[in-house]
């Protein structure tokens, strides 16, 4: 099978899954028309159709469209983060620089195949530049807090998320379908989220972190995570990995994604919000969908780079 055929098989499969989810949602809604949980479930499925369609179109358009797509996703995620973070008028310049210079440059470095600068641009030079710009505003009130929050938001929403399209930079011997690697990562992370949510709703009894993320349960995590790992292993044919390696990497993705969801949920709550935004119906904001991705992407990238690039 060439890449094109694998792509159609994958998206055909995802379409079939979503069709089943839509039908189940429709049946459930007929049985319990007033249930808020089921209304949310059908809204989520509808939003999934849209997200999968957008991703499919971008992947078909190729490498550039995929990089641009994640740059836009970063923009929306950073927008949500900054909206919830208190800023002062003196933060205007660093904010403008984050949105209009640092974010585009980070993604341009992927276009440019410049991995060495990509990896240090925000953690080193962004880190050094932002406090300078903030200081130039002349406002020292809560200076360290303000700089820290902005840097933190930039690292999660831009740096970590940009590791998804950075998978296109990897040069793995006998493997050139890097777009499939992007799909693999997204699929395992999102299926893990969905299955943990579903199994948590069905059998969840023991909450893992009731104060941080009340919807995460031990049952949901174990059963959902194991199923997602199995799905990841079963998808070995779109990756350069053997089935066993695929299972191992999927398990790492699941774990990193879970921890990312947990950490970002804590951040969200400390900012006094339940959802990051409202742009994706039923899911909340862009960052509610990208929280696990932002943690899983760098880990998956570096493991693959370390073990599979010569």
């Amino acid at each position: 099978m060439n890449m094109q055929q694998k792509f159609y098989w994958l998206f055909g499969g995802i379409g079939a899954l979503l069709a089943i989810a839509s039908i189940v949602g429709w049946l459930l809604q007929r049985r319990a028309p007033d249930s808020a949980t089921i209304a949310n479930l059908t809204a989520r499925v509808r939003a999934w159709w849209v997200m999968v369609a957008v991703l499919a179109v971008c992947f078909l358009l190729g490498r550039s469209a995929t990089i641009v797509l994640f740059a836009i996703a970063s923009l929306f995620a950073l927008r949500e983060f900054v909206t919830l973070t208190p800023t002062r008028p003196g933060d205007h310049l660093p904010l403008v620089v984050c949105f209009y210079i640092l974010l585009p440059v980070q993604y341009l470095l992927i276009f440019d195949d410049w991995y060495n600068l990509f990896a240090i641009f925000l953690p080193v030079y962004g880190f050094l530049l932002l406090p300078v710009l903030t200081a130039s505003g002349g406002d020292t009130e809560q200076f360290l807090e303000r700089v820290t929050k902005l840097q933190w938001g930039l690292m999660i929403t831009v740096y970590c998320v940009s590791y998804v399209p950075a998978l296109l930079l990897l040069q793995i011997p006998h493997y050139s379908d890097n777009l499939l690697l992007v799909i693999y990562l997204l699929l395992v992370v999102q299926i893990s989220d969905v299955l943990q949510y579903v199994f948590g709703k069905l059998f969840g009894k023991h909450k893992i972190a009731p104060h941080v993320s009340p919807s995460k349960t031990v049952e949901g995590f174990v059963v959902g995570g194991a199923s997602a790992t199995a799905v990841g292993a079963a998808l070995w044919w779109i990756t350069p990995f053997t089935p066993l390696q695929a299972a191992g990497l999927a398990a790492v993705i699941v774990l990193a994604g879970f921890l990312g969801g947990l950490a970002l949920s804590a951040v969200k709550r400390s900012l006094g919000a339940k959802d990051w935004g409202s742009m994706i119906e039923g899911h909340g904001g862009m960052l509610d969908r990208l929280d696990s991705v932002s943690f899983a992407a760098p880990v998956f990238f570096h493991l693959t780079r370390y073990f599979f690039e010569p």
Binding site: L75, L78, R79, T83, Y100
Partner: protein, 216 residues
């Protein structure tokens, strides 16, 4: 005379919506969200005066873009002549982009009643967007209102006065800055201000302001 062709009638119903104004709506949505929240009323084509707190140059555009296109076509933002009507790109945007109605703030340049163009627009059935503070303030809550809104309200007792609170825009583009920071801003529409007969100007202005504060 020929009967009005259906397409012409539609053109009359939407005099202000150019391609530029649709482009603006998209740009404003991406940059600052401008998500409408209809808390106290529903979007309706009745004669309305939307009045809001004023913290940023983006306010006018954000409020206007939060309206559905059909209402955008019959609603005219009132813009300060000394800022928006200074010729060049700005005046072009104001006239062709969001169909602005200019008001003269400078007392020396005024000829006759500065509210006259607003009254004419209302009389011809167009709704208005006004910022009764008169100028931008760098704060979350509005300052005391100027009396213009009182005169408009007295002359048009049937117009609905809709309080609007613009959230976050003062963070996106504070006074003295030129590039907006993308933030999710919401535009909250409250219930029409009740009309009380024989109310004094001071009481009315404070009550109108309080209606905006209540949405904050």
């Amino acid at each position: 005379m020929r009967d009005t062709h259906p397409r012409d009638r539609r053109a009359i119903a939407r005099p202000g919506l150019t391609v530029l104004s649709y482009l603006f709506a998209v740009l404003v949505r991406v940059l600052v969200g401008a998500r409408p929240q209809w808390i106290g009323c529903k979007p309706a084509p009745s004669l309305r005066i939307y009045y809001a707190n004023h913290t940023s140059h983006l306010d006018t555009l954000a409020l206007w873009c939060a309206l559905p296109p059909s209402l955008r076509a019959i609603t005219r933002p009132v813009a300060a002549s000394d800022y928006w009507n200074r010729g060049g790109i700005r005046a072009y945007i104001a006239t062709h982009g969001f169909n602005a109605l200019f008001i003269e703030r400078d007392k020396d340049k005024r000829e006759g009643d500065p509210l006259e163009p607003l009254l004419q627009a209302l009389a011809s059935g167009q709704s208005l967007i006004i910022f009764p503070e008169g100028t931008r303030r760098a704060q979350a809550l509005p300052s005391p209102f100027k009396s213009g809104i009182f005169h408009l309200a007295t002359k048009f007792p049937d117009a609905e006065l809709i309080p609007v609170y613009l959230d976050n825009l003062y963070r996106s583009m504070p006074k003295g800055t030129f590039l907006p920071v993308p933030l999710t801003c919401s535009v909250r529409f409250g219930a029409p201000l009740a009309r009380i007969a024989d109310e004094t100007k001071e009481l009315f202005l404070e009550r109108a302001r309080q209606a905006v504060v209540d949405l904050a």
